[in-house]
């Protein structure tokens, strides 16, 4: 599929690369996510929710579903990927199109929204192809992907995402302290069944520091860790996946 036409444009504040899809349709889909969830647009649904003083708020079905996913991710990661960025995700309750949350508790759904948009855009591909937004991607059909620090990997199924401090500095917040995470890793790349799974795994791998590789291994998630000095550390699942594939060819 690498021979398919590759389209590039900007959306959601990131470089978008895609193949196997109509770029206009994909751009419209990404714009829909940005319109609802951007913290840089005062009129987005998320910005208006964060400004509201009420305990109980009505939201659109689109917003409610993304928030449900964010809260589900927070529960599964024991709060490491937290939509409140302050360890207070359990104070947010979503029920249908109604959200209960203490006034003043702001939400940031960036941790899941970009990956969700990638997964939805990939689900709408006409055939084989891929969608990458800011380096987080999902594929339909095998796609070779360049890795941070050199090298490449073939993503056969699912998604691949990288989290870290390389491009935006220390922006990943450790919810336990509410401060930028102090991790021995500069970047963590993880492979997931979806882009969302990969993104969550990469963030957790980064935030857990030295325990990151084992955490991913216990779940069978391939992870590749780049230290602050540029050394590459692969967890067992990553090494096995590449080694097994090599012996098969």
């Amino acid at each position: 599929m690498n021979a398919a036409a590759v389209h590039r444009f900007r959306a959601m504040g990131c470089d978008v690369v895609l193949a196997g899809a109509d770029p206009t349709r994909a751009a419209a889909l990404l714009e829909r996510y940005e319109e609802a969830f951007s913290l840089f647009r005062a009129g987005s649904e998320l910005s208006r929710l964060n400004r509201a003083h009420a305990h109980v708020l009505a939201v659109t079905p689109f917003f409610a579903r993304a928030l449900d996913v964010a809260l589900s991710v927070a529960a599964r990661t024991e709060g490491l990927v937290d939509p409140t960025l302050s360890g207070r995700w359990s104070e947010v309750v979503s029920s249908g199109q109604v959200v209960f949350r203490p006034p003043g508790l702001a939400l940031d759904l960036n941790g899941v929204v970009k990956a969700l948009a990638v997964d939805e855009a990939t689900a709408r591909l006409d055939g084989d192809g891929f969608v990458s937004v800011g380096g987080d991607l999902a594929v339909r059909g095998p796609v070779d992907v360049a890795l941070p620090g050199g090298g490449a990997i073939r993503v056969v199924e699912g998604g691949l995402a990288t989290s870290g401090t390389a491009s935006r500095g220390p922006h990943l917040v450790d919810p336990a302290h509410g401060l930028p995470a102090d991790s021995p890793w500069e970047q963590v790349t993880a492979s997931g069944a979806t882009c969302l799974a990969a993104d969550v795994a990469a963030k957790v791998g980064f935030l857990l520091g030295e325990r990151g590789p084992d955490w991913l291994d216990r779940r069978g998630i391939p992870g590749r860790f780049m230290t602050l000095r540029g050394e590459i550390v692969e967890n067992g699942a990553w090494s096995r996946a590449t080694r097994e594939a090599l012996t098969c060819t």
């Binding site: 360049a146 779940r219 090599l246």
Partner: protein, 85 residues
């Protein structure tokens, strides 16, 4: 004649009162409408539409949030790169 004039004046007052009540109602409704739009984020400018992807997509995304993907060694020059953003 005086009786007719009194009735006419009463009708005038009734008309004015109806107009005032109507205007007040419109004003209260307008204020409540604007307040609801700014207070409840769900009152979006555009029509609320559900997630466009099929339900199977949502189920898969939720189910697989902690599942690994499938990777292998690269075979061709990569058309795309993963990176932090």
């Amino acid at each position: 004649m005086a009786e007719d004039s009194r009735i006419e004046r009463a009708r005038g007052r009734a008309r004015a009162a109806k107009c005032a009540i109507g205007a007040l109602t419109m004003l209260v409704f307008g204020a409540a409408f604007v307040g609801a739009r700014s207070y409840a984020p769900g009152h979006a400018k555009g029509k609320a539409t559900p997630l466009g992807a099929p339900a199977s997509f949502e189920r898969k995304v939720r189910r697989s949030v902690s599942q690994g993907g499938v990777i292998a060694p690269a075979l061709q020059p990569p058309p795309v790169a993963t990176s932090t953003s």
